[in-house]
């Protein structure tokens, strides 16, 4: 296994220590718990808290979005595994400023069950109001008719941004939850993978992809996609992804969209730009206006090769939220 790590069992703890070593001025652990990261940025009194949680191995998701204008706190589990309900509850408690907390996270079994338990705990034990919005943007993970089964992938970054901006404005918990849901209703993602990744404690790839093949629709933990295809050109892959995405989220002429081309970990920026070029060609051809491009690594699967494409259809409200300033150690839209 070729990883720059020490003991596999210490992987997550050491990553967390690295984050605080580098960015200790802006983020901190909750009471020394190396699985809970909180923002140090001062926020307005009574701001609605925004909390997420999920497995490790997806940086900048989730920890990377803790900071100004985005998340107040985040709990992480082991690689690809949910943190415990207790840790989620502690995170919620730390992020409540009296007006409740939005739990905004990807739709995965373990996370769902644990967040439900955590919300129950803080409501019963601490009288903290919570709302839950689950990210289900991956069109490849279930057909539109079963959209509630879909997984949450890179589109969650846009949701963090929109919800974070609306909370920073001083909106109520219900309003923030509504805006997160509205954003998500306009967000769709699809990914392709070229190579697997290795969970450090497992030590070898969970799955394999043949040298001449591409997994269309694969999930960020290696969940199988829609089909395995012989390796295709960048343009052909993008066209195929756009077809699926646009079938689910039609973009009329004149509409505005922010496009995210997200590298899964091992794919060079050069290739992401070649993909963006094609998206731009196709959507411009449909008279769709592309604004605020997100090209880079926003939600990864460690060393997996491949990328995902996210469309975020904007109206005036969503665009303003997307443009609002945000700054975390791993993300800023200052130059987007």
């Amino acid at each position: 296994m070729k990883k720059i790590i020490n003991k596999p069992a210490n992987f997550v703890d050491e990553v967390m220590e690295g984050i605080v070593a580098a960015y200790g001025d802006r983020v901190r652990f909750l009471n020394g718990d190396r699985r809970i990261l909180l923002s140090n940025t001062p926020v307005r009194e009574g701001k609605v808290g925004i909390v997420t949680a999920g497995g490790s191995g997806h940086l900048p998701v989730f920890l990377g979005y803790v900071g100004q204008g985005m998340l107040d706190g985040c709990a992480v589990g082991n690689v690809f595994a949910s943190p415990s309900a207790e840790r989620m509850a502690n995170t919620i408690r730390a992020c409540d400023r009296g007006n409740g907390v939005l739990c905004l996270y990807g739709n995965y079994g373990g996370d769902n069950m644990n967040f439900d338990m955590a919300c129950e705990m803080v409501e019963l034990e601490d009288d903290i109001q919570t709302r839950t919005v689950r990210v289900k943007d991956d069109v490849a993970s279930a057909p539109a008719a079963e959209a509630s089964r879909r997984r949450g992938v890179a589109g969650m970054v846009y949701a963090f941004k929109a919800a974070g901006a609306s909370a920073a404005e001083g909106r109520t918990l219900n309003e923030v939850a509504q805006v997160a849901q509205k954003a998500l209703d306009n967000i769709r993602t699809m990914g392709v993978a070229l190579s697997p990744c290795i969970v450090p404690e497992v030590g070898k790839p969970t799955f394999s992809i043949a040298e001449n093949e591409v997994e269309i629709g694969m999930g960020i933990h290696g969940e199988p996609g829609i089909e395995v295809r012989p390796m295709m050109t960048a343009d052909a892959v993008v066209d195929l992804m756009l077809d699926k995405l646009l079938a689910d989220l039609p973009l009329e002429a004149g509409s505005k969209v922010s496009v995210m081309v997200n590298g899964l970990g091992a794919t060079p920026k050069e290739e992401l730009l070649i993909a963006y070029r094609r998206v731009h060609q196709v959507l411009s051809g449909k008279q769709v206006q592309l604004v605020m491009p997100y090209v880079g690594e926003f939600a990864t699967s460690m060393e997996m090769a491949g990328f995902s494409l996210t469309l975020f259809k904007l109206d005036a409200e969503l665009e303003a939220l997307l443009r609002a300033p945000a700054s975390t150690p791993f993300f800023t839209n200052e130059n987007i």
């Binding site: 595994a81 309900a85 207790e86 079994g109 373990g110 069950m113 439900d116 404690e201 497992v202 199988p224």
Partner: protein, 207 residues
């Protein structure tokens, strides 16, 4: 007779079993999941066992609550969380008791199964751990009169048979659901963890 001491011994054996099967469970989960099953079962049961080893508590209900929390702390994966729900469900029945006979244990584990179903919306027949846990609880209750050893033997056989039967099923929950028909023919990894759990309990009861 289940009490704090036999529970401790039992969990030690379960924990050893999961450690021994760590790699096997990882590989099972890699076929139609993300491969963490062996890690979470190993670490979850180790934590539950360590909790019991360190606890002076004698109330079985409180011990089950503690195990549930320790398990969830250590292994908050899907199956880990489901098993801590299971222990939490059983805890309600055992609350206030320092001992439990086989019938009471059967009742507790049946409540555990119900708790899982209530919280996950799943039911037996959907290619999950429930296909091992549900028949095991039923068998335990049915054979309770025959004594702990025989009843747990029956439960272990029922769990294993239930697990075997998942091969023919189509998954509707969790990661395996994404594999659709591709996973037909594969036994559900979670149900195998369930069978290993009851087989370990049966071994302990037999000693």
């Amino acid at each position: 007779m289940l009490d704090a001491k036999t529970l401790r011994t039992a969990l030690q054996e379960v924990s050893r079993t999961m450690t021994a099967n760590r790699q096997y469970l990882i590989e099972l989960d890699q076929r139609n999941g993300d491969g963490d099953l062996g890690i979470s079962m190993d670490e979850g049961f180790a934590a539950a066992s360590a909790f019991l080893d360190a606890s002076a508590e004698t109330d079985l209900g409180k011990l089950f609550v503690g195990m549930s929390k320790a398990f969830n702390e250590a292994a908050p994966s899907s199956l880990g969380t489901i098993l801590s729900l299971y222990m939490m469900g059983a805890a309600r029945v055992l609350k206030g008791r320092e001992t439990a006979d086989t019938a009471a244990l059967g009742e507790a584990l049946t409540a555990g199964v119900a708790k899982i179903m209530e919280r996950t919306g799943s039911k037996p027949g959907e290619k999950t751990v429930l296909d091992a846990l549900d028949p095991a609880a039923r068998a335990l209750s049915e054979h309770a009169a025959e004594g702990a050893s025989a009843a747990l033997q029956a439960a272990a056989m029922a769990a294993r048979a239930g697990s075997d039967s998942t091969a023919a099923m189509k998954a509707v929950h969790g990661r395996a659901a994404y594999y659709g028909d591709k996973a037909i023919g594969l036994v559900d990894g979670g149900s195998i963890a369930g069978a290993l759990l009851f087989e370990a309990l049966a071994r302990v009861a037999n000693q």
